[in-house]
Symmetry: C2
């Protein structure tokens, strides 16, 4: 299983404070050591850094830390392999071009019996359930619309296509086109929106502290989405089963709330539902 980290903002923001806590879960405070990846949007372009080494000590992750890239939308992933070998092509996030945009996708979960995509226009490169599911979403979106439709239509279409996949297993995912970020929760996703008045935050994984007053200005809005909360002194919103949130310019603009559901430990929930991933 895996863990997800996303960011959506209204001003280019450095994700290093969150990423430094998150990457410790890739081998230090948790066991998601089968590769990591992070994608930063920069305009319509994307910078992607991936490594099949553990995120906590990957030199590529050190490179990410060093350059303090600022972005409006970021998706990161640390992997504990369930399906597919540990190699670069199986490392999230995955990218496809849809309607002349980079779309970035990362998944936490385990899907079984996915559609055969071997003759589709959008085919998986690696062997993960996650990339196959993303290709299915991309293919279905392109079938429905040859040109980019409205955000409302996109949000609606992604919900409908997701419904065709959710019964196949656990399907927490994040998806962004660089303008917005959509999060879907099967089992575990949490988010927090930071805006004025800003305060201090303390990381769970290594007690690192930041005072956002030193970095943010009036009007800034930054939402962080993560499988589990990253800070110990802030209130994170836990998404419900089947919940969808559409973030844009740093805040939630559309939502399907989902339902409370007792999680069953069917072996597809990873670290969720049994023992906490951190203390």
């Amino acid at each position: 299983m895996c863990q997800l980290l996303g960011m959506n903002c209204n001003t280019p923001t450095d994700i290093v404070f969150s990423f430094e806590g998150f990457r410790r879960r890739a081998g230090l405070t948790d066991t998601h050591s089968d590769g990591f990846g992070i994608a930063f949007f920069e305009g319509k372009g994307v910078r992607v850094f991936r490594d099949d080494k553990p995120g906590h000590n990957s030199p590529i992750a050190d490179c990410v830390k060093q350059y303090h890239i600022k972005s409006l939308n970021v998706i990161a992933h640390i992997r504990k392999a369930t399906q597919g070998d540990v190699n670069l092509e199986n490392t999230h996030p995955f990218i496809r071009e849809i309607w002349g945009e980079n779309w970035v996708f990362a998944h936490n979960g385990n899907l079984k019996s996915l559609p055969d995509m071997s003759e589709s226009l959008c085919q998986p490169i690696g062997t993960t359930d996650s990339e196959t599911a993303f290709c299915y979403i991309a293919e279905e979106l392109k079938k429905r619309y040859r040109k980019k439709p409205s955000e409302e239509e996109i949000f609606q279409a992604i919900q409908e296509i997701t419904q065709e996949l959710v019964h196949r297993g656990t399907f927490n995912f994040m998806l962004s086109n660089g303008e917005w970020l959509i999060a879907h929760c099967s089992t575990n996703l949490h988010y927090i929106t930071r805006q004025a008045p800003f305060g201090k935050a303390q990381r769970i994984d290594d007690d690192g502290v930041i005072d956002f007053n030193d970095y943010a200005k009036e009007g800034d809005k930054v939402t962080i989405i993560s499988t589990f909360p990253l800070t110990k002194n802030e209130t994170w919103t836990k998404m419900k089963h089947g919940g969808f949130v559409f973030f844009k310019d740093g805040e939630k603009i559309r939502e399907v709330e989902g339902i409370e559901k007792e999680l069953e430990d069917d072996g597809t929930l990873g670290c969720a539902g049994v023992t906490p991933c951190f203390a």
Copy 2:
């Protein structure tokens, strides 16, 4: 205009010796300062590093140098913008998924009046002629074959599709799927295949010297393809106008020779044909 660098080998090889000379042309020994990019295949996966800063002093390029990534196929590009703004989405190499593989493309030249791809299944993300041409190639290949055909059929199809584009301008390009690398020459492309007995090479751009005997072993084959030669004491093969070469496992396995042609300085030839790019 731009310059191209490619590598195709039969054993994972570190391209840093060539790249270090090449990147000096991005602002020091030449004026290709509008961004750089380099893509390394690793299995079916690709690592891509891009920057819209000049390659010669880009921190991202320093990161590439530092980690000595070894690969069987590499494509790199330094840009001097002709069409499209200087930003990340216009920075080569471009990547698309074709038949479940990463395909990497970089272009040196200038194409006019390209087909409208705004409703195609493969659409450009940026505003360069280069990415639009690559999308055209990808779209046409997918139309012809829903599953990956033989190498012979791929090589033939790419030649035919290229013929539909070459009359639109200058079209030097490199294309790789991680197994092979195809180079097409309109004006300037040179290559060299290094194999036993190995010797020393001296870079043109900064006189750096390497003795390949210290790195290569019997049986290794490494082909380097570049817009202009990178070393001063080796014999590079100059490709002809319309020439195609298909490299695999470090050597040329198929070729369409092209014709000798006096290059006209129509403003699309960049540094070619007028004054040499280096002394």
